[in-house]
Symmetry: D2
Subunit: 475 residues, 4 copies
């Protein structure tokens, strides 16, 4: 089997070591992948820095055209890319196709964002005693960006790093998740064909624990953008010095279901929010707070809908849920469920395991301090909890160290507005699951769910320096 | 009795003619007021233009300081100014005090707005083939502004012209309503004391029909801002040439009351919306569409609340409603009511007249083509109309040539959002009467209700030219 | 010869009458073109209004995709379209290719602009006594837009109307210039293929004087956008009522050439600015003010460069300048030159005429009140005038009733800043000719040069209503 | 001597320990000041958090009114406050008066900023497949802010923390520099009188090294804002976890003086930039790069102007430069100068020391790696260095690990634009010293000069969370 190489300075570069990449679903080896050394990464960073010197001088039009071309190229290869997702990430084909659609949108938003105004004039004469000055701001590219990305959206979460970075003229060293290198490596071709200069995108595969230090602390790295676990994110941030950093971490996303909700219209959406890609989504619906008056009805319908989900091979077009990313994750969540059951939790459906899969699981009778409630499960499991009134429901949602998206279903305007105010989250989604995200909206968490915001134009602010120019217009 | 003079170039200037100003409530003469000639206005315009040459060069800090000082001076004279409103406009003291409070807010917003950024950089390199250029916009003052203002908010609607004009460095020729010159003239002192240069504020009193031509067509006038009737506004616009113009015209504002409304909490607000300052307000509540299921209950409560209103002397602190601005307006609305009654309308309460007053009037059983419904009444009269469903209610609201503010009471989120989308108005006010306005919000109508927007920063856009500067940074 | 039909509601519709379209260069008939009646236009307006009811509900994504498709389709037909320009407008092929490039940019900017934020939240609680409210603005499409376009940029100036209109969901009745219908009509196919709904783009050809009334005054028309002569523009504005209107009128654009200018680097650009498309450009360089210390040198070089221009058939790839749009324009400018010569002006080069052409002409010894100086020439003629100092040069530039773009060449920072401040123009272009325009920059004149601004996002503001939504969040 | 207490929850609170505060100029004790314990700070944080629960619910109008009142109160006590600066900071009275003026401006900008829009609508329908949604952003207050401030602008740099924090509804625990507690403590009275709720401003005096840990790591602290040394700033950032942090660190600010500079007009400004407040300013002019053609002339004039500066008692109105903040700083800079002299540097003037003062010092013949060049001197010392051409000058400026403001004097437009592009700094100041700052401009460094931006509205962005609300408007 051919060994996948590193992509450095527009060339495929062999690494000394490699690792075996296996399919989450079948367990079979699907590729051998380069395991970059620290020296490889250093070389990538140095090359990215070299390319930055010219890339930063390109016009926004030129950069947008590259990104538009990327859009076109990905559109042409949608099915191929969805299959990569099925292979290496165990993502069902239909779900993968949606990811590719969103990836396309993300690059297109990036192309568009490149060409928007990012500066304002500063009213210098608003300061006492100040005349004859003009002042304006500009957003300048920052240099080499280290992008460390997770396995769950190997195309779209990479796009959320590459798109804004290239839009403004940064160069990127991309370290994809160990489990999902193929979807990253295929971008080497795409961007090359789209006209991106060699060295602007470096792809180094391998072990995060071995490589993150150099990615975060190399003097030529000016920005780190990371999506992944909270524990890792926090460590990166401690090491990052004065560099900019964006962290998109996890959550235990909740939704409130108020009595005014037309349950039949939302149940399918809630189930998708909970089990899409086996719950391995930062904003996967993990906690459902349902008003006690409709709790039974809601739970029954939810369980029924859950049971319809088909578990199977990700390459099968009819599969809804497939393998979890790794057997040890199955093991972990199995233990969490056992623990919860010991503490009184009830399995309403699901909780059947193989080495690599678990059935979509609905829990009831849970308590706030169970791991399946208060920690990020990242698995196809959801808890449904009754509540007495909105105040209590909001306090349940807020009793978490995490706060990315939160949802509320209600058709009562004043309650919706109250929830929007009082829920502690990066985004409050009214009348949808917290799993809702479109790629141009600001996205990012409060509390331990992250640092900074993504969503193209918001990411761009965090990937550029604000430079201020002022001119005294007379001597 | 002393004759009030014109205020030109920082001096009180006698006019050849004058007119007698009488109290709307008592009918007694309260002042003799200069009746400016066309030559007087020309002189004012020329003087304003001369002052503009230096005033445009002041800093935004300096202009803001003048406006902050105006805020302070008006704060110190609140009661005196409210009495002027009672005298010349027949505005009850308590209502007048609220107008002065809003006037203060308007000038303060203007001071603040003066100092905000009003420019952006333009991404020149987003155009193909364009490099080495910077570009930015600035808002430049436009020159002499002719401000023609109405009788109903003699302080605050003047403030909405003067505040933004001075914020950006324009100079103003103010022609206040014939009936309310005193509240304008007192500003001469206020602005003088606040440090406004002579000539930046010219005040010409007299007849609108005699003076509007020169105010709108003089070559040195660069902007016309008018609040008043639709018929006059349209004529001004036809004459204005390439000058900028803002027209704030009338409306027959409507509110929808949906079944989810807690009637007891909104009834008093609705009554105030309908009868505040005897309904002589552009966004006075004139049409109330109430769902048929609560129509009786609402109407009963509304009539009851209406009956509590005290009609009387504006100088009496307990008066809610006082005289209309002129006996001919009483006569007009009396005829409209008669006409409506002939067509089947029913007086639920009110419709008692003296020469100068009418009692707050509630009509039912009206039809859409009655004048009291489809034209602007500008009188203390409101119609209450039942409807079957929201679709019908929205179509009632929209079946008007006018569209300033519109209101809807509903606690159903999806209905509120639908109304926000479908109602044709400059502003849709959810869960309040259309009479709601704060002075920093965008304000202005669609259809025949106006042209352009006020609300300080929005007015500023219409009182300035957008100037674009681009620099090629290399040869 | 086939008669070109009207494009109404997605169909080719015959008109009762037609007119003969002849080539400006050869004088030969190139097509017979429908001459729409007032009834035809009414039908087009009514159809556009009908389509608006659904088109306004499309998403910005959908509208952007249509515009992106238009970009692609025009890219594929560049040469064909450039030939149309050569045929009907007498535009040399190389110049036409540049127009098509800019047209592509304009539609692409429109697609991008469709998807940008056009609203802001309003800080309701900044007003005294106001709590528990949210407020936000949105830009809503306005309805049917009448677009009346000129002959000089039949593709790109049409794009500046259609692009922003479709970006926001308006529908358009396009009345192209009588001389350049073909480039408009070909868009019918392009937009149809791109997926624009039938009726969203109506194209009515014929006589402006016959059709402008209905285009401007029909009750279903909500916005007029016109590029053309000042006289016509002003008349349209007088009739427009409360409708929105944008006027892009003419100018007699000037440039100042300061002694710090590296003449050899700018001379070719100046000549292009003066004679591109035979000077038939709103911002064609018409007045060159050169510091007396370099006047001789500059004029000599300018004349020399001018003489290099090749006059000829627009379809010949080597042609720089071709026929003027109509023999009567040749006649007019010939008379203006004669008149100027009688008053002392000197022809430095050019001023040779055929029925349809004139050679690129440089005049010296002109005075400010000559028609060739103070009026818009719209012909390949430029005057070069010496000046003593920057103050004088700026006063020359400003001594005009027109003020679109103005240029200044200087490498002295303080002088550049001074010119940016003091020159009265919509745009001040530092170190380039006033003829500089990219399609995303704000564009429009002061004084008699226009009303409103174009440049996609600026045009969008003038093609939408600002709607304000406010919600009281508690009862 | 009375012991100054801590200000916690609106009360003066005794600390167990205190320290002696001595005058930098006289060395005499001027106060005994509380030395807060970690427990004191914890109490302050807890109190600030408690107050935040209500303060965050105040309206922006109410918060602005408090800040406006602060403006008024400080205006009334300008001289008193300037004397405090002279006493505890050794700041000459005239310099102190300027700081108070800027402090007033900073609080006024904060009041104004509180009331501006801080949100935008998000075009949800720009994402494929997304309909019937609205989305908008808001900036929400973040909670308790730990503000750690330096000695050099005890009023204005505190204002840059308190102003934006209170503008948005945060509460603050202020730890002023050990040497300048009095100017902080006097704010307790000012804000109390202005109506700030108890607990919104907590002031804890004492040792930075003892207290910074708890200020940065307490779970209730949500934001740290620090102005001070790079070494300390970096340590704080490592400890800050996921909290937001702003660091305003030091610099070795440079200016380039090009041959086109009218030296006589800028020399006095340059001297002020170098020696204002004895150079103890983050953007104090430390490096002057002068074109070799004017090096002699410039240096001579600079030295001459420097010699005019009067060293003396800060309370003497004629004093230009007074004591350095501490004898150990005098000692340090003395050693640096000795070291530089050994390496070949020449003292052109100055370098005379007492225990507490040094005369304004001009160095020549320096090299880039001397401490007086490459490190922040924070002392009245400047180096003047000749250069050959602009490229070299820019490379000198950029050869620094620091990059706050940088200046360039040139009247050549293309050179100014080039410098604006190529100089690596937070701000490029054209035709002024880098010491230029007005309080509404964005301010902050690149490289090791800081993290984040201040300047009221920019600080506000870093003191708030961006919250996104989206509503699905139909079920």
């Amino acid at each position: 089997m051919e060994v996948k190489k590193l992509w450095i300075d527009g060339q495929w570069v062999e690494a000394k070591n490699c690792y075996s990449l296996t399919s989450p679903y079948s367990g079979e080896e699907i590729a051998k992948v380069a395991r970059a050394s620290v020296q490889d990464v250093e070389r990538a960073i140095v090359g990215a820095h070299a390319t930055f010197q010219s890339f930063k001088k390109t016009t926004s039009y030129e950069r947008a055209e590259i990104l538009y071309k990327v859009v076109e190229l990905i559109r042409n290869r949608k099915e191929e890319f969805a299959k990569i997702l099925a292979m290496e990430a165990g993502k069902p084909l239909s779900v993968g196709m949606m990811e590719i659609d969103r990836t396309i949108a993300t690059y297109q938003f990036s192309a568009e964002a490149a060409k928007q105004s990012m500066g304002e004039t500063v009213p210098m004469d608003a300061a006492p005693g100040t005349k004859d000055r003009i002042g304006y701001t500009k957003r300048v590219p920052i240099g080499v960006v280290s992008a460390i990305t997770p396995f769950n959206f190997p195309f779209n979460l990479v796009a959320h790093k590459l798109g804004p970075a290239f839009a403004v003229g940064n160069t990127v060293v991309l370290k994809p998740a160990t489990q999902t290198p193929l979807s990253a490596l295929v971008l080497a071709e795409v961007f090359k064909e789209a006209g991106l200069p060699d060295g602007a995108l470096q792809i180094v595969t391998g072990s995060g624990s071995e490589l993150s230090d150099i990615l975060v602390t190399h003097p030529l790295v000016k920005k780190v953008t990371f999506t992944g676990s909270g524990a890792v994110g926090l460590k990166l941030k401690e090491k990052v010095g004065l560099r900019k950093i964006t962290l998109e971490l996890g959550s235990n996303a909740a939704v409130i279901v108020e009595p005014s909700t037309p349950i039949e219209k939302v149940i399918s959406r809630c189930v998708t929010g909970a089990f899409g890609y086996a719950g391995q989504v930062c904003i996967s619906l993990q906690r459902v707070y349902v008003h006690e008056s409709i709790f039974e009805q809601f739970t029954t319908a939810f369980v029924e809908e859950t049971k319809k989900l088909k578990l199977g091979d990700p390459l099968d077009a009819t599969t809804d849920v497939s393998a979890m990313i790794h057997p040890r994750e199955v093991e972990r969540i199995k233990q969490w469920i056992e623990e919860a059951k010991h503490q009184g939790a009830v399995v309403a459906t699901g909780a059947e395991f193989t080495k690599r899969t678990m059935t979509p699981t609905v829990m009831t009778n849970v308590s706030p301090d169970m791991k399946i409630v208060c920690q990020e499960t990242f698995a196809p499991i959801v808890s449904i909890v009754p509540y007495k009134n909105l105040e209590e429901a909001i306090s349940y949602v807020n009793s978490s160290d995490l706060g990315l998206n939160a949802g509320i279903y209600t058709n009562v305007l004043t309650d919706a507005m109250r929830a929007a105010d009082e829920i502690e989250a990066g985004a409050v989604v009214i009348n949808d699951v917290p799993t809702f995200r479109v790629d141009n909206m600001p996205y990012g968490g409060v509390k331990n769910s992250g640092y900074g915001r993504e969503g193209i134009k918001y990411a761009i602010e965090e990937m550029t320096d604000l430079k201020f120019i002022t001119i005294k217009t007379t001597f």
